[in-house]
């Protein structure tokens, strides 16, 4: 899985590409662990290149939210596809996460 990282001011843009399934979600989990102590003020988790999320992927997303909360960072989720949005809806995650339409809008909000 390709995971693109980009710094914008004090915030981090994280853009995983591919499926967040039972196998590949572990790579996103590792990427999140790597940035945990990098001192970012906030994180934009760009979902626009994620075509698929299973409950294993949601576990990692939930972990990301808890990690950000413990570091007093804001984490915004941006640009989910209709299918990914449906998974967020079915799981009740839409009310737990701050979801924005685009990564650009989310990043602007964190500046």
């Amino acid at each position: 899985m390709n995971i693109h990282r980009e710094r914008h001011g004090g915030a981090l843009l994280l853009r995983p590409e591919g499926r967040m399934d039972g196998v590949r979600s572990a790579e996103v989990e590792r990427a999140l662990a790597e940035v945990a102590d990098a001192g970012y003020s906030g994180i934009v988790f760009d979902m626009s290149a994620i075509g698929y999320v299973s409950s294993a992927g949601l576990r990692v997303i939930l972990m990301a939210v808890k990690q950000a909360k413990s570091k007093q960072q804001r984490i915004l989720f941006a640009g989910p596809s209709p299918q990914v949005r449906e998974v967020l809806e079915m799981s009740g995650f839409l009310s737990l996460l701050e979801v924005r339409d685009s990564a650009a809008a989310a990043m602007e909000e964190l500046q």
Partner: protein, 155 residues
């Protein structure tokens, strides 16, 4: 590819071992199957998600004693519906008896598990479970609108 059998354009039989890495094979096979059947992106997504959750559940909880086991998935595209059957020799498990998780809990109260089976129940129109001679047999049916299919069984 080992364990992969596309039986004509509208039927698939897939043998998976009880290892997480086998999910790669599952997704690849279902993607091809959906392509051959003319599924929409959304239909491939639903079938893939339901199958991953069921198979992951079997791999994670089905074999507390460990060892190598085979999980057999068949998929069949019929006019107006897709039928999926998953067979495994793990411990008896009826997903219909699993409690629906509370999806309204706040962040700190959220358990990490339990969502997979909930998805399967939301995505599928019909779920049947039986246990026959030590084998779990789970049959899932997803119905769909005909116009979603591009080349549905035209002779």
């Amino acid at each position: 590819m080992a364990g992969y059998e596309q039986r004509g354009p509208h039927a698939l039989k897939l043998r998976l071992m009880n290892r997480m890495e086998e999910l790669e094979k599952l997704h690849e096979a279902l993607g091809r199957f959906g392509g051959a059947c003319g599924f929409t992106e959304d239909q491939v997504f639903r079938v893939s998600l339901a199958c991953e959750e069921i198979v992951m559940n079997i791999i994670t909880y089905g074999y507390p004693e460990g060892g190598e086991h085979e999980i057999v998935l068949t998929a069949e595209s019929l006019p107006g519906e897709v039928r999926l059957t998953v067979r495994d020799d793990g411990r008896a498990f009826n997903p219909l008896e699993v409690q629906t998780p509370d999806t309204t809990l706040k962040l700190d109260e959220r358990p990490v598990g339990g969502l997979g089976i909930h998805f399967v129940r939301r995505l599928m129109d019909e779920i049947r479970y039986s246990r026959e001679e030590g084998i779990n047999i789970l049959q899932l049916t997803m119905r769909h609108e005909e116009e979603g299919m591009r080349n549905e069984h035209t002779p």
